[in-house]
């Protein structure tokens, strides 16, 4: 499929292979982002789960911090899960760390506790099919959501799936689900719409 959209998956550390598998199953091509040269010509960007501190160190070492930031702000659809969401939040606590400030949210790292408290929980949402669940692994907790940021799903009272413009972020891991998770489908739909808009703009 030569015309399938191409999504870049940040592949410094974490569950990037699971994201690639989920996207491939949805008919999208993927490319691993490990250097600035990998950022050209993408129709979407995924920031996977993993350890946000490890990713931050490697973004600096690879001199990717700025080029990735520019790509994330370029208007392409962005999908960030768990550690990826921490990277793009406005403010990060426990401990405080640097982030892109792409979404007006405050997140507390490991806000639901250590691995012992990880698991799959029901999501409350009008944007997702009834019965949709999310797997939270040492997940970040969103403690405040600023203006212009939509809350698409909650776990109890907590926002866990948020969106502003082309940027979609989840505290949980839709990429680990059996079959196509509705949140992955939502991102892929945004990528396809972006490709259509770009083609129309060129024509």
């Amino acid at each position: 499929m030569e015309d399938a959209p191409l999504v870049g998956v940040l592949a410094l550390q974490g569950d990037f292979a699971e994201h690639e598998a989920a996207l491939a199953a949805a008919g999208v091509r993927t490319r691993r982002i490990r250097a600035a040269a990998d950022l050209g010509g993408l129709d979407g960007i995924v920031l996977p789960g993993g350890e946000s501190t490890t990713m931050l160190k490697l973004l600096d070492v690879e001199e990717l911090w700025r080029p990735l930031g520019d790509a994330l702000r370029s208007g392409v659809p962005v999908f960030a899960t768990c550690a990826g969401m921490i990277l793009i939040a406005d403010r990060v606590e426990n401990p405080n760390q640097r982030s892109y400030g792409l979404l007006p949210i405050t997140v507390v790292r490991n806000g639901y506790g250590r691995q012992y408290h990880s698991g799959t929980f029901a999501l409350v949402s009008t944007a997702l099919p009834a019965g949709t669940t999310g797997t939270f692994i040492r997940a970040p907790r969103i403690t405040s959501v600023g203006a212009g940021c939509e809350v698409l799903a909650r776990r109890g009272d907590d926002p866990v799936l948020v969106r502003r413009g082309p940027v979609l972020a989840a505290c949980f891991h839709p990429e680990l689900a059996t079959g196509l998770h509705p949140v992955v489908a939502m991102f892929v739909e945004a990528v396809r719409a972006y490709v259509r808009r770009s083609a129309a703009a060129r024509a």
Binding site: E18, E51, L58, V61, S118, I137, L176
Partner: protein
């Protein structure tokens, strides 16, 4: 194409265990897990980009020197490390010592390593890892050991290597054995797989899953003897998905720099130019041990088969 053994249904694991236990281990992929003995070392490891730390009182090289019975670490020491860092903290229990495991679970350690590096507590049984909510990692020297541990509930496998030697030869032997045995399964027909399953003493479904998917159903990491960035990249090229480094970092001349170099080598394991850069000027590596001069009773990898 309909598969009899789809990737996302793992024999012996519930759907929930697959996503929460194995899913946790998947977050560590492409990373380096470092042995640390105190909060200070844990901070250095985190700062260098470790994706997790293994808290233990003595690194394997010192366990060898010290001799005697090696047991699970003092909970106070593990707690101090849990407080010092925000990355996952793992800790070791003796093979078969399910009470040490209960203690670590009660402390909410993120992952438990049932490890041959400590003195085994049970010569017959490993810990029944299914009854725990905490994911376990176990060592293996070959496919049989790997699948027996997975059948007992391990959510991650690491090749054993020979810990505390700074010599990668055993880790290579174990990874090669594992990968070639997985490849062998791929060409077998059902009758042969049945025979293999009984030979390896594991359920047929588990063997059939590996045969069909061409890999272990849980993440496959490497451990035991990694001392340089090149060692780490070697294990990744041989098929490891992440690397444990024990004595190799804090027994070397410049732990900070070596830790950073190994982290980068694991991300860029297929790029020799990056490996050149990170391998420069690292100072003294840990002094290694030639496995051939080591008496058989000092080898740790033969524990827990």
């Amino acid at each position: 194409m309909s598969k009899k053994h789809p990737l996302d249904k793992i024999p012996g694991f519930t759907a929930e265990e697959r996503v929460s236990k194995i899913g946790f281990c998947e977050q560590l992929k492409g990373g380096v897990i470092m042995d640390v003995i105190d909060a200070e070392q844990a901070r250095i490891a985190e700062e260098a980009g470790a994706c997790a730390v293994m808290a233990l009182e003595r690194v394997p090289a010192d366990i060898r020197k010290h001799g005697g019975v090696a047991r699970a670490s003092d909970p106070g020491m593990i707690e101090a490390i849990q407080k010092a860092v925000s990355i996952p903290v793992m800790a070791k229990v003796r093979i078969g010592h399910f009470v040490e495991a209960q203690i670590l679970e009660a402390m909410e350690v993120d992952c438990i390593d049932e490890s041959e590096v400590l003195t085994p507590a049970d010569e017959q049984f490993h810990v029944d890892k299914r009854v725990f909510k905490t994911p376990f990692v176990c060592g293996c020297r070959d496919l049989g050991e790997a699948l027996r541990r997975i059948h007992e509930g391990a959510a991650m496998i690491r090749t054993k290597g020979e810990a505390g030697t700074g010599n990668v030869v055993e880790a290579v032997r174990h990874m090669r054995a594992l990968m070639s045995q997985i490849r062998e399964l791929r060409s077998m027909e059902e009758k042969q797989l049945e025979k293999k399953a009984s030979e390896l003493r594991v359920p047929f479904d588990l063997v059939a899953w590996v045969a069909e998917n061409g890999r272990l159903p849980v993440p496959n990491f490497s451990a035991g003897g990694v001392a340089t960035p090149a060692d780490a990249a070697l294990m990744m090229q041989l098929g490891a998905e992440a690397v444990f480094v024990g004595s190799g970092i804090f027994k070397s001349g410049n732990p900070q720099q070596r830790a950073k170099a190994i982290v980068r080598a694991v991300t860029h394991f297929e790029e020799p130019k990056v490996l050149v850069e990170v391998s420069k000027g690292l100072g003294e590596p840990m002094v290694g041990i030639d496995i051939n001069t080591m008496p058989a009773n000092e080898r740790l990898a033969g524990r827990g088969i």
